[in-house]
Amino acid sequence: MCPRTVVNTTQLSKRYGHVQALRGVSLAVQQGEIFGLLGPNGAGKSTLIRILVGLVRPTAGQAWVLGHRVGSSAARRNGVVGAIVEQPAFYRYLSGRRNLQLLADLSGGCNPHDIDRALEIVGLTERQHQRVAAYSAGMRQRLGLAQALLPAPELLILDEPASGLDPRGLVEVRTLLHQLTREEGVTVFLSSHLLHEVEQLCTHVGIIVAGRLVAQGSVAELLSVPQIHLELRTDDPARTAEILRDYDGVSDVEHINEVVRLTCAPGEVAEINVALIANNIAVSALMPHRETLEELYLRLTGESEDAGR
């Protein structure tokens, strides 16, 4: 069975006065994915999220969430979407629990046990009856996550969900999102600055720069490149470099200090090792280096910014 498309945008653009925040963004997120939206500050991540949750109207293009056009009454009636947009804000004069109750009632109500569960998940059970005014920024972030979980959402749209969380909180949120995706089939669409976090958490990634989506796909797809960088340590680096310069499928061979660096196809690594041993060279270290998400991100954002200049 084909997975259902949960989030779909076509040629989405948004202009605020003279500022073009989004330029023809088309993306698709399938059910069960954890989609991470990456991009520098002002790239358009929050604008895209605001459009998806109906806070902002696009200037051009369309957005569909759970099969309904964003902003349509059907989307409002049937859409089971939990969301956090920027720093979650609550009624400071009400307790955390009362805030959750009120927001859940607005979307059709929920069982008190669901509120208990959401509070337990985010670790606010002890402080649930305290006024939100007394909450720290991290606690408000947790409460934001709790409200997004009420009532059981099919899609979670989270703008910087890790913001304000301590390392333990980060791990808990990561575990929770994995669990929701795996066990309840929830789709997660999140934006983040934390590349390491996104790499660990997300199955799919989109990179947005200056309002344009410059890359989109599964993390594995985006990081699967035809060439890898290889670093070698041998007992005779000079001769190693000399041998490899004549080797088919190897390029950019450099001998720097005791290390030999080169570029080759991933499948060549084992053969290079065999060739060096055959030439009586003892290989002490052979370190293939794949591009990380961080490097991909920096390369793409750098290229896009250069292209924009």
Binding site: L55, R77, Y93, L106, G108, Q147
Partner: protein, 281 residues
């Protein structure tokens, strides 16, 4: 169904805010001070421009006189209650936008129309409740301090006083306060419209008061006489028509039409703008 839930939520929020009770407390204080002043100094005949040689015999100050004079004083309906409405209703959308709770609210699966309709209904209810509270509290305090008796009311459009029998006075007070409540609902609509337009609750409240002040100033400039029948402040005082020797239904009907316009037009504009406006804060 969603609208009823949204109204209940708005009411809960209003009930949980201290500022709501401050408004009712301030009105109670105003009534209390007025009753104390009347008890100490007698009825405010001077304020009614009654000549000094005018002789009135019998019981002048009665329980029904207190809510009547509070309506007539204008300070309550032209200044005090509109100010309370402007500060509370003015913050209804702009305040939520500024604090970010509007963003949280609108990320829930609920339509903007439902949210704004609930805010409108609660704004009207609040405006009506303030007005009715003032009347009921004044009546209770008035009866407690001065006891029963007929109502001595000003005659309309001619110098003179009008004596209204106690039972009839109750009906007239109900009509007068009902009309005043409708007038205050128009102020609430205006405040909500400005609250939708502004990002800052203080700006929305300030603009509401400013609109009322501009209307009052225009009423003082003869050049704008052609405009007078259309001014909101002209119709805020429609309750006076309930205390004529016979109720001026024609005037009430005409003002009712204008007030309906002042209630519905800003509400419609607020809904149209709220539907389209981006929520960026």
């Amino acid at each position: 169904m969603r609208l009823l839930v949204a109204i209940r939520i708005e009411l809960r929020k209003l009930a949980a805010q201290r500022a709501t009770y401050v408004g009712f407390g301030a009105l109670a204080l105003l009534v209390g001070l007025f009753v104390w002043g009347t008890w100490r100094a007698g009825p405010p005949l001077k304020a009614w421009s009654v000549p000094e040689d005018f002789i009135v015999a019998g019981k002048l100050v009665t329980g029904v006189l207190i809510p009547y004079v509070l309506l007539e004083m204008r300070v309550a309906l032209a200044v005090f209650i509109p100010l309370l409405i402007a500060t509370t209703v003015g913050g209804s959308v702009a305040g939520e936008r500024k604090s970010g709770t509007l963003r949280t609210l609108m990320t829930r699966p609920v339509s903007r129309g439902v949210v704004l309709s609930a805010k409108l209904v609660v704004a009207w209810a609040y405006a009506g409740a303030l007005t009715v509270f003032m009347g009921v509290f004044a009546l209770i305090l008035g009866y407690a301090v001065f006891g029963g008796g007929d109502l001595l009311a000003l005659e309309l459009d001619a110098p003179g006083l009008n004596i209204i029998a106690e039972q009839q006075a109750w009906l007239r007070l109900a009509l007068g306060y009902g009309l005043a409540a409708v007038a205050m609902m128009a102020v609430a609509s205006l405040a909500l419209f400005l609250s939708v337009l502004c990002d800052n609750p203080l700006t929305a409240a300030g603009l509401t008061v400013a609109v009322l002040l501009v209307c009052a100033v225009l009423k003082q400039i003869p050049y704008f006489e052609w405009l007078w029948p259309y001014l909101l402040t002209e119709h805020i005082t429609v309750h006076t028509r309930a205390f004529a020797s016979s109720v001026a239904w024609a005037d009430i009907g005409r003002s009712g039409v204008y007030l309906a316009g002042y209630i519905l037009i800003p509400a419609g504009l607020a809904a149209a703008i709220f539907q389209r406006r981006d929520i960026l804060c």
